[in-house]
Assembly symmetry: C2
Homo-oligomer: 338 residues x 2
């Protein structure tokens, strides 16, 4: 499964993924049509249930085990003054996750989900990508494997998120490398930089794009050059979920940027992933458009740590509850449309 | 409280409503700023918690008791062939609510809410409003009172919804009467009429507007002339909630049209109400714009029966869970912004 040791191996994994189960989604759609409501009147909730069935491979789908995986990493590019917070906050927030004090702890509990926080070599930040690739091939592959191995085979859904001071700069550079437009298109305020900080982020991104111009046509090399370990892990977890028939809920800008290289390799690679929300971070909406993902929620959130995906879990639970619990027209003695 | 017996009495009630509690919302905002996240990074979730506190009058707010009230009514205008379903479906769906088979039963359970279904004289449809006002003054006031009395004083939140074959025509006529634009602007497909049915709806609305031209400048008379009993009850429940300091979650097009006369009387009258979602029914987005309401969700739903509002309850629970459960920067030992 995860026996990849190089960019080439990983590319082969990405290009050989299982497809979904049309019979399962068709069975869901068939039942939806006889439930006591006008056809399609639950809108996206009906689509979501069919989506879950399509990737889980059974109808009805289930959400008995929902795992939220939050990967944390540190970024050499923080030395360029791109964040409103000092780099040590990554470690401090991982401790906060462990003691239950972060937003994601509350949201995981609300959504009946299991939270697993996976720090990746926090004492070893990536290289400053204005000077060198953020990660070597072997470090990148190792982080991808960590993400791959973090996905429990028996999960019904995984929601992915991240924590890493500096990582909106990493994500913006990654998006710029894959889709063009430079720092002006993709840099946002992240945790809250001021105008000067934003100008620095744009400049950092543009310098990095020039520095790594020779590798921009290879999505996995782009992921290693600009992305941190937590982004690589999200990419790996997304592949593992596909391999195991587990639908994926993506979180915000960083999480979406982390999987964008998969889409560039082959658009179908993200077919099992949903955008939990569109965040307030500047580039997220444009990135979702590039990936043809329609977010479930638009609540002006921009926290990361899987918080938007965790709120979206609630919508999936609502969808499944209707599908499983509703009576049919016949059962309820309700007249169908004339 | 509910000692109103005429349009004039009711207007007086509408113009003498309690205001909110700025100290409570300010206390919420103050705490949000010291929780372990960048300021405002939970976006709308933070606003929602402050909103709940503002109307409940205490910080933190609570959601221990959430009531979903679904009002059901029948409409004389169905004789004009404006619905895809026969009128007896209203009664059949009320039975389905009672036996737990409808979407709202599943969604209420998912949201930890108490569901209360209130049928209003289902054996006595309103008048066909192309020929006469749908409700007399006394019948309208009686339905408003039923809604008013259905709100439990100790609820922390009420979500409002409706069931009534034919009522999207009623709602569209009401919206047209209040905001202009005729059937062309406001009629939609409701439970799913075809092109001919949609044309009939538009024509019915335009004929009714001409028929009742003399009362279009009085929002409460408009509500009686076009709205059914379930719409009047939603209006009454919204007033009771304001009186008792209970925030309101509105559902879709019909529910929103039901409270639109309050906004026309005085815009502040709906200040304690949130739009749970924007539905797929044609006129809903325009109506929310008229009322300056920004929906929480956009999931292409168009079922009614409070289903969209019930999904939005989940978002409010997520917001409150973060606010109450998160650690502060000091508690967690996390460095604040530089």
């Amino acid at each position: 499964m995860n026996n990849f040791a190089s960019f080439a191996d990983l590319r082969a994994v990405c290009l050989d993924l299982p497809s979904g189960h049309p019979a399962a989604s068709a069975a869901v759609a068939q039942r939806e049509n006889v439930l006591t409501k006008p056809p399609q009147s639950l809108g996206r909730l009906e689509d979501l249930t069919a989506f879950l069935a399509h990737w889980q491979g059974h109808a009805p789908p289930q959400l008995d085990r929902v795992d939220i995986l939050v990967f944390a990493g540190n970024h050499g590019v923080t030395r360029q003054g791109v964040s409103a917070y000092p780099a040590e906050v990554t470690v401090q927030m991982v401790a906060n996750f462990a003691s239950g004090g972060a937003a994601i702890n509350q949201l995981a509990r609300t959504g009946g989900a299991k939270l697993n926080v996976i720090p990746l070599s926090l004492a070893e930040p990536t290289e400053d990508f204005t000077a060198a690739p953020a990660l070597s091939e072997s470090d990148f592959i190792a982080a991808v494997k960590t993400g791959f191995d973090a996905v429990p085979r028996d999960a019904d859904l995984v929601a992915l998120g991240e924590m890493g001071i500096g990582n909106t700069t990493s994500a913006a550079a990654l998006a710029a490398a894959l889709f063009g437009g430079g720092g002006a298109r993709w840099a946002g305020r992240g945790t809250g930089v001021d105008d000067d900080g934003l100008a620095r982020k744009r400049d950092v991104i543009d310098r990095a794009l020039a520095r790594h111009a020779s590798l921009l046509d290879d999505p996995l090399r782009v992921a290693a050059a600009f992305g941190g370990r937590e982004l690589a892990a999200i990419l790996g977890a997304t592949l593992a979920a596909r391999r195991y028939g587990i639908p994926v809920l993506l979180d915000g800008f960083v999480c979406t940027a982390a999987v964008a290289p998969l889409y560039k390799l082959r658009t179908d690679t993200l077919a099992h992933a949903l955008a939990g929300h569109v965040s307030a971070e500047a580039g997220h909406r444009a990135l979702l458009d590039e990936l043809r993902l329609k977010p479930l929620l638009d609540l002006n959130m921009r926290l990361g740590e899987a918080s938007g995906a965790a709120v979206a879990v609630l919508v999936l639970r609502a969808a499944l509850a209707c599908h499983v619990g509703m009576a049919t027209f016949t059962q309820a003695g309700v007249s169908d449309a004339r």
